[in-house]
Symmetry: C2
Subunit: 176 residues, 2 copies
């Protein structure tokens, strides 16, 4: 890490085991929040009018968690985030619940990095059941031909649970 960055606030290395409280806070956000900010990498484009290839791109999505704790998404092939994921599956999701707070920075938030991939066959059917149970309104468009279910395999997560309470968590920490 750069020498001008003191190590205490954001540990560069993942601790062997985060505190139980951190894991509980992270799991509560994953289970409780119906929506998240999906972040993808803008697909390179031959179109000079959109000169942000490689930039991070945040968008709003509804999320459901599968039986083992992996995020499920329902994405349209027409959407920019999906075009991005088709070129580079590296993605992240921000889960936060700060809407009711006077100072949003006092609320916990979880950044989950992982690889997203479309599902097919039985995996897509299983995802469909879980997702529509969580988001019944999505039944209106889940069968549109341009929609696919996607699943994120978590690589690492970063929890900011409050001032000085910052932790890296592994996929194993978030497996339910």
């Amino acid at each position: 890490m750069p020498p001008d960055i003191p190590p205490q606030a954001t540990p560069a290395s993942a601790p062997a085991s985060p505190p139980a409280e951190a894991r509980q806070t992270a799991l509560a956000l994953l289970a409780g929040r119906p929506q998240a900010t999906l972040t993808t990498l803008v697909a390179a484009s031959a179109d000079d009018a959109v000169p942000v290839g490689g930039w991070p791109y945040p968008s709003l999505v509804l999320v459901a968690m599968d039986g083992t704790g992996r995020p499920l998404l329902l994405l349209s092939e027409l959407a920019l985030h999906t075009r991005n994921l088709r070129q580079d599956g590296r993605a992240a999701l921000l889960f936060e619940d700060t809407a009711g707070l006077e100072n949003p920075l006092t609320g916990p938030r979880l950044s989950v990095m992982g690889r997203a991939a479309p599902l097919a066959g039985e995996e897509a059917e299983a995802a469909r059941a879980v997702y529509l149970d969580r988001h019944p309104g999505a039944a209106l468009y889940a069968d549109f031909p341009d929609f696919r279910f996607w699943r994120m395999d978590i690589a690492q997560a970063h929890l900011v649970a409050g001032f000085g309470r910052i932790h890296w968590l592994s996929a194993a920490d978030l497996t339910v």
Copy 2:
């Protein structure tokens, strides 16, 4: 629009000029929302315990707009997003106001891509005045030695304002 139909489709190319309504919606989000999801690119690390270098990383920030419509941030050098920006200034901010909606996907949201850079001298002083007027509580930590004011120069923005109402906007479209 039907409340449960997600506004997903996106044009691949930027129109020469977005509708006035799109610009108004975008400017209202920029002026009205005190917080946003900052997205940065995770700085490469020699530490194998955090194997997400290059991944997009979303985090929560408070934002103020400067007099010409550029986003201002107050970031700690101790934070992961700042370490990321020190290595690669390409960033994005998601502004959305969906907390009160039964279906968040019916609400407008704006993804602003640009380059973020730290401010110094008179520019930092001007940013301080604007930022603390918007976020008085930040006075508690604005003078901590690890905090700096940053400004994003907008490269391009992507508005999802509703079903079929998706537009690319330029920096000029968002200049006030």
